[in-house]
């Protein structure tokens, strides 16, 4: 089936928003205004975008420490996110969560997560809710290549399989966990085969290719919605920045990084492919670029100006009642 024009424009808008958001956070971090650990998703946009745009309100996402992209793609308010990352009271989590804990249950975003591998069990739970309450929803869990080895991930694949839960396991393989290469850390070097060892069908795609990711997700989501249980997608791509802000990525060989933004850029590929033929007009995409730029600008201006959380909130929301 062809991906229709509004869908393509939407995909592009999400990718562009993520890219600009991350580029901007990178800059703002250097000014010293953003506390804590910040892990940027730039380079990986096609994954969050092409997958999450195929989800609905009844669907949920559990994310990782590198969660900005997933949050944006699942529909979190960009300004609320920027405020959160700046530690403001009007942030999406009242300034209590920060970059690593962005969540918005109203849009089905079950949280970035500071614990590597913690997201998959949570996604299984959301899928169990969907199944039990017959909402028709499914859960996507994004997993880093490092997280893929964590026992929680294996256990979750097994659980999702034996219960036939509607879970899409998405391995986001950016080649590294911190400085450790995924070509070393994943025993057997074949994630799809590992998923199959848990009885889960999987496929591998180039994560710089929006269309490839879209197609793989489309097929997997369709299968999951038909009630046949979990699926797996292994996405390979590049992270442009260091593991977190401050990391110089010196462990990456020079020839790997040299031209990565030139040759491994989902947004560029998308533009070339869609505007080369007759799918989309350059002007449409340029217009989106402008709108996104304005949005990100505004989000930073507002975040900077926003007040820090009221000190009284330090001890609120620990419990609902106590």
């Amino acid at each position: 089936m062809k991906i229709d024009k509004p869908e393509l424009l939407e995909g592009y808008r999400i990718m562009r928003t993520i890219r600009d958001f991350e580029e901007r956070v990178h800059k703002e971090f250097m000014t010293g205004q953003i506390p804590g650990f910040v892990h940027l998703y730039a380079g990986e946009e096609a994954s969050a975008s092409a997958i999450c745009q195929q989800l609905g309100d009844q669907d949920t996402v559990s994310s990782t420490h590198r969660g900005h992209g997933h949050a944006i793609a699942k529909g979190c308010d960009v300004k609320g996110m920027m405020k959160e990352i700046f530690g403001r009271g009007e942030g999406l989590c009242g300034g209590k969560g920060g970059s690593m804990h962005i969540a918005d249950l109203d849009v089905g975003m079950l949280g970035a997560n500071g614990i590597v591998g913690a997201g998959s069990p949570i996604a299984c739970g959301a899928a169990l809710s969907a199944k039990t309450l017959k909402t028709g929803g499914l859960s996507v869990t994004f997993i880093g290549d490092g997280a893929f080895n964590q026992g929680t991930t294996s256990e979750s694949m097994n659980l999702a399989r034996v219960y036939d839960l509607p879970v899409l396991f998405v391995l986001e393989d950016n080649g590294y966990a911190e400085s450790t290469s995924s070509s070393w850390s994943i025993g057997g070097h074949n994630p799809v085969r590992r998923a199959e060892g848990f009885g889960i069908e999987g496929t591998r795609v180039d994560g710089h290719d929006y269309f490839a990711v879209y197609r793989a997700a489309e097929e997997a989501i369709k299968a999951i919605r038909s009630g046949t249980g979990p699926r797996f997608i292994h996405i390979e791509f590049t992270r442009y920045y260091g593991h977190f802000e401050g990391d110089a990525s010196s462990y990456k060989p020079l020839d790997e990084v040299k031209d990565e933004r030139r040759y491994l850029d989902a947004l560029k590929f998308f533009r070339a492919r869609t505007t080369g033929g007759k799918m989309l007009k350059t002007e449409d995409l340029d217009a989106i670029d402008k709108e996104v730029e304005a949005l990100i600008d505004a989000s930073v201006v507002e975040a900077r100006a926003a007040p820090v959380p009221d000190l009284s909130t330090l001890t609120t929301d620990v419990y609902l009642s106590y």
């Binding site: 209590k96 079950l110 739970g125 959301a126 039990t132 929301d317 620990v318 419990y319 609902l320 106590y322």
Partner: protein, 336 residues
Amino acid sequence: MPVKSFREALNEAMRDEMRRDPTVIMLGEDIAGGMGAGGEQDAWGGVLGATKGLMPEFGRERVLDTPITESAFIGAAAGAALTGLRPVAQMMFVDFFGVCGDQIMNQMAKFRYMFGGKAKTPCVVRTLYGAGIGAASQHSQCLYPMITHIPGLKVVIPSSPYEAKGLMTQAIRDDDPVIFFEHNTMFDDKEEVPDEPYTIPFGVARTVREGKDVTIVAFGMMVGHAKTAADQMAKDGIECTVLDPRTTSPLDEDAIIASVKKTGRLIVVDEASPRCGMASDISAIVAEHAFEALKAPIKRVMPPHSPVPFASNLEKAYIPSVDGIKAAISAVMGQS
């Protein structure tokens, strides 16, 4: 009123809540039993039988036997609680906290706070604890102090069948994550338990016994020991108040402080390991907030700082005893 066992009381609470609320589900290893097997179904009903009968009534969709993957299914309980269910998951023994602790201490405990108040995580983690069944170092721990240490969790330790039913009903209806401790040796304890559902609020201590000389605070299994010791000492004219806080988090500090202000003496009986335990916690609260009332050192009756031993005689020596409590009572009275 009908007499029921601890097991029956728990079972009734869970059954009634499942009847009342279709979003309540159960998860755990062999909580029904016979999953995938060709023989009897509901063959176990949980390791000590507390969930027996639930699967036949509510079906495998709501009573889910799990593979042995505590991180996955306790985490699934956390995720399900975020998204509309009210799961009751069983971490069979609290000793297994080490294999799934993250989903309890960093996920369900913290969702609400980290997410700025947007999340609601109504789930219960049931778990067995305590020594006395010869199960040795890895199946006899208490560990409720470790759980109490974590902000965001509520911690319940029922001391009798009546308490178990009311507190379990409250736990399932509660909108925060609750870790519910069931003592390995108490499942056959019996007392009168009403047929109809009732709740016991969290954070309200129960006065088991009143007396003017000494305040004894005890938890779970130790409440009975404390009462026995107090009853025996009454024959010597020493009158003790015995308080059962029921929940360690929230803790009814006010009731404890008020009682110590009356008696001037405090003993805390705690089956958990002695370092950073509940005995220390309560002692510290009193030493800070009721210091002036104290007439004697605060005594803690606790096991030694060692793993739980296997051999029956060692295990018996390990567990705080009625005699140990009596000795503490004598000590605080002698020193007044």
